[in-house]
């Protein structure tokens, strides 16, 4: 698909990220679809960071491959990014900062002294980011008025002096281009979206879904890349009369949620790997006490503190198997920003319906990326409220009553006759501790099997491409984006390929998923981890060989990497691996 990618790179704290954000907003305002990617260090001050916006008339599914226009703030930006600029692309750099300009001859180089011009023309060092983004806009043939409009929108309500300063920086940038007779490199088309678009990132999409689903209690503890959910909900939830609080640690976050859920609230918390590890014991409690709760896990590179600001999909085993004993839980993974809204609504619905903890898996790249989406409608999607005890239930109330569907009506404090103790110890139907073998077995089965059909909700699967593909790609979460683009490219070449993405990973969908995987001639499993964690889950359910595509590079898989694998599989050059245990030989090869 035709797209243009802009990348801003430089030292953290120089306004690189905000320049990128402005560019994203401007491109969205003039009618493009946008898809961002950002990379920043785990430290607050210093270190290299970059922000990229890919724009297109078509729907974008990934960050793409290559860069069309690189705006380099310093030498490191040139050293790291000049090589990824596509042939025919442009590199804009500040000659005051860049002493060794790139040597490439297949790209156009433009030296524009940002620092000097900002100093002499704008008299404000802080305006460098605005100046840089205005320069890029001028080179792209976007009128200055459009950039000013965007800036006024972004800084609406700020001081008049700041707005005037922004305008001054924009005028100076355009004046430099005109005075020096630098022709626009391209002319971006100015238009409007046919439908209303909402510019939103993955974490905000989850927050939005949570609120729409009726989440009325949230407790969280700061951790990258999940903090923006806590921050966002801290602003939004009080407006709706709900509680959002910062806890002293992740155990406390989840414990607060379980207390609130016990009292009938739709509660949620958000964290990342280290915090999720700390929550494991309470996850088992939620499961055993049968309390609905939603735990959002924004995955990052692990193990331990790992790569705090890089994406990875390496927590799947922990989400599916974590916590001691055999604790039931549902695991879900949205595959995009818009999908994050939809799946989050379903996460609350399933938590309420089954009285079970639901984990939503997202990752750094999806949490932080911004897209301008068409808001989904919840037509056909109910807002589910848990089964509460009725008067009849309260006559001889059994909190953990055995029922045909395994779900027991919950009494909440205030209900007369409903007094009971929520239990983490094995318990009988009344909630009294009970360690008999027959009771334990019956309760284990109740809790584990009540969710057997949880995958049968309307948004559980995304299938695309050829109905009977020669090569089927299976993936989960954010990796769907590059998979989609790879499959699209292969389809355009007339190849018989397709993909299937489960949005629920525990329990795995059966019809439309496991059966497709079983019958496809070749199956590639693409995921951002080293050991093939989804592949491992699939191998427990189907008997077949898989082609593995794993990457733990701190960046998402690209559509090209996936396309190469597809082509290799079609050409018979890449063979499937028979067993999961042959991983060692393959990985060390």
């Amino acid at each position: 698909m035709a797209s243009t990618t802009f990348r801003f790179a430089g030292e953290s704290g120089e306004g690189v990220i905000s320049a990128g954000e402005i560019a994203c907003l401007a491109l969205s305002d003039i009618g493009f679809n946008v898809f961002t990617f950002e990379s920043y260090p785990a430290e607050i001050k210093g270190g290299h960071c970059w922000y990229q916006v890919r724009s297109s008339d078509d729907e974008l599914a990934s960050a793409g491959v290559g860069v069309d226009l690189l705006c380099a703030f310093n030498q490191e930006a040139i050293d790291l990014h000049a090589k990824v600029v596509s042939p025919g692309g442009v590199i804009v750099y500040d000659p005051g900062q860049v002493t060794v300009p790139p040597t490439r001859t297949d790209v156009r180089l433009l030296a524009i002294p940002f620092d000097e011009l900002v100093k002499t023309q704008v008299q404000s060092a802080k305006s460098k980011n605005v100046f840089a983004v205005a320069t890029v806009a001028a080179l792209s043939g976007i009128p200055a008025a459009e950039v000013k409009k965007t800036m006024q929108k972004k800084y609406k309500g700020k001081k008049a002096e700041l707005l005037a300063l922004n305008d001054k920086a924009i005028d100076a940038a355009y004046a430099h281009i005109v005075t020096n007779n630098i022709p626009p490199l391209t002319t971006m088309k100015i238009g409007h979206h046919a439908e209303e678009r909402t510019l939103i990132n993955g974490n905000d999409a989850i927050a939005l879904g949570a609120l729409a689903a009726g989440c009325d209690f949230f407790a969280g503890y700061p951790i990258t890349p999940a903090s923006s959910i806590l921050e966002g909900l801290s602003v939004e939830m009080p407006k709706l009369g709900h509680v959002c609080m910062q806890a002293e640690d992740e155990m406390s976050s989840l414990a607060h949620c379980l207390g609130a859920s016990y009292a009938g609230k739709k509660s949620a918390t958000a964290t990342s790997g280290p915090g999720f590890s700390l929550m494991q014991e309470l996850l088992g409690l939620a499961s055993t006490a049968e309390l609905p709760v939603v735990i959002i896990n924004c995955m990052r590179g692990g193990p331990s503190t790992g790569l705090p600001t890089k994406p990875e999909q390496s927590d799947l085993n922990e989400m599916v198997y974590g916590s001691h004993g055999e604790a039931s839980r549902i695991v879900m993974a949205p595959a995009g920003v818009r999908d994050s809204i939809i799946q989050t609504v379903w996460a609350f619905n399933l938590a309420e319906k089954y009285q079970v903890p639901v984990i939503i898996a997202t990752d750094h790249s999806l949490s932080n990326r911004t897209e301008n989406i068409i808001l989904p409608s919840l037509k056909g999607t109910p807002i589910v409220r848990r089964k509460l005890a009725t008067e009849a239930d309260l006559v001889d109330y059994k909190r953990y009553k055995f029922t045909p569907d395994g779900v027991s009506p919950q009494a909440i404090p205030g209900m007369v006759g409903g007094t009971h103790t929520a239990e983490g110890l094995e318990h009988n139907e009344y909630g009294n501790p009970n360690y008999t073998g027959s009771n334990h077995e019956a309760m284990i089965k109740k809790r584990l099997h009540k969710i057997d059909d949880a995958w049968k909700y309307p948004a559980a699967l995304e299938t695309f491409g050829d109905q009977n593909p020669d090569v089927l790609v299976v993936t989960w979460g954010s990796t769907k984006g590059p998979v989609k683009e790879a499959v699209l490219a292969a389809l355009q070449e007339g190849k018989k390929v397709g993909y299937v993405v489960p949005k629920i990973l525990n329990p795995l969908p059966e019809t439309g998923f496991l059966d497709l995987i079983q019958k496809a001639p070749q199956v590639i499993v693409a995921e951002m981890n080293h050991t093939g964690q989804l592949e491992g889950l699939l191998r427990k359910r189907v008997t077949r060989d898989f082609i593995r595509l794993n990457k733990v590079h701190g960046t998402p898989l690209t559509w090209l990497e996936i396309k190469e694998k597809i082509d290799g599989a079609l050409a018979g050059k890449i063979k499937a691996t028979a067993t999961h245990s042959s991983l060692k030989q393959e990985m060390t090869a």
């Binding site: 939005l208 709706l240 949620c257 989904p376 807002i383 205030g414 007369v416 006759g417």
Partner: protein, 323 residues
């Protein structure tokens, strides 16, 4: 300070085994109180008989709690007990009230969650010194500074009972236990935590100590704790007869705070808390906005400005929902 007899050998499993018959014949549920009939202490008796050793201090705490709730005429369905893990954390099962027997050390954060969800109801956290002062110590400090309107009754026996006799964070220095077999003069580094002093400096707004041997005073303290408009911490000396019997020392040393003690004076409270291990009474009392009230004030502010942003968008989205 307490005398430190060597830990006795385990006499009994601290109440684990329940008969298989429990599955078949559930214990009768307590009667639902009738409107207009005053509640008596027996109305708060839970479905299960306590699993504590005969002579355990916790029996007296249970009796005091049931009497206190009856005195306050709080309906069983309006009260929630939240506990962690330990002998005393079985408490919720022995009450006719709502209960949450959570995991080790997390009673306070669970209790805060319940309270914030239903501010109009009574929430009481209960547990032991291991649960509250070791694994739960972080929550102890943070709950105090947050000042939610809950009461926390910590039954302190200075030993781990359920796991059969290891050292606790309130064990006296030098106490020989199963996990500190070589402890003694000059051979013990762990200083016991002073729960009252820790509560006061952490920001608790009502801090007291009771003794299981003085049920009448304890009942009054529990009532005050429940009625306090903020976080009330009540440490109860509740001896373990099986692993660390301190009854004799308690009887010999036990007395009340001086009548002249000024509970509004934080320094005096700290001084009293740091002076004597056995003294009972209200050490400290302060009136400060509780957590729920602060959140309500924030909500009032936020709602006054109208529903905007993601919150407004979420309402728009929710309105499109159809079954």
């Amino acid at each position: 300070m307490s005398t430190n007899p060597a830990a006795k050998p385990a006499l009994a499993s601290a109440g684990h085994a329940l008969p298989e018959a429990d599955m078949v014949k559930p214990v009768a549920r307590p009667a639902i109180p009738m409107a207009g009939v005053p509640l008596a202490a027996k109305d708060y008796k839970g479905t299960l008989p306590p699993v504590w050793c005969p002579g355990c201090g916790d029996f007296a705490v249970l009796a005091a709690m049931q009497k206190a709730l009856a005195d306050l005429q709080l309906a069983p369905h309006d009260v929630t007990f939240v506990s962690g893990i330990g002998c005393s954390s079985r408490f919720p099962h022995f009450m006719n009230a709502y209960g949450f027997h959570a995991v080790h050390g997390r009673s306070l954060p669970v209790a805060v969650g319940v309270k914030l969800a239903m501010p109009e109801r009574t929430v009481i956290a209960v547990g032991g010194d291991g649960d509250g002062m070791a694994i739960g110590a972080g929550h102890f400090v943070h709950t105090a500074r947050r000042n939610p309107k809950i009461a926390y009754v910590m039954m302190d026996n200075e030993i781990y009972g359920l796991t059969k006799g290891q050292a606790s964070p309130t064990s006296a220095i030098g106490l020989k236990t199963k996990s500190t077999p070589f402890a003694g003069e000059g051979k013990s580094a762990d200083q016991p935590i002073n729960p009252l002093a820790l509560a006061i400096i952490s920001g608790a707004t009502w801090v007291a100590r009771g003794y299981s041997g003085k049920v009448k005073e304890l009942t009054e303290l529990i009532k005050q704790a429940i009625n306090h408009d903020g976080y009330a911490f009540l440490q109860v000396i509740s001896p373990c007869v099986t692993f660390h019997d301190i009854y004799e020392a308690a009887k010999a040393n036990q007395r009340q705070l001086e009548p002249t003690h000024d509970a509004k004076d934080k320094f005096a409270a700290m001084k009293a808390a740091m002076t004597d291990h056995w003294v009972t009474g209200v050490f400290y009392e302060e009136h400060r906005q509780h957590f729920g009230a602060a959140l309500d004030a924030q909500k009032k502010d936020a709602t006054a400005k109208g529903v905007t942003g993601l919150a407004a968008l979420s309402q728009k989205l929710a309105a499109t929902s159809t079954a």
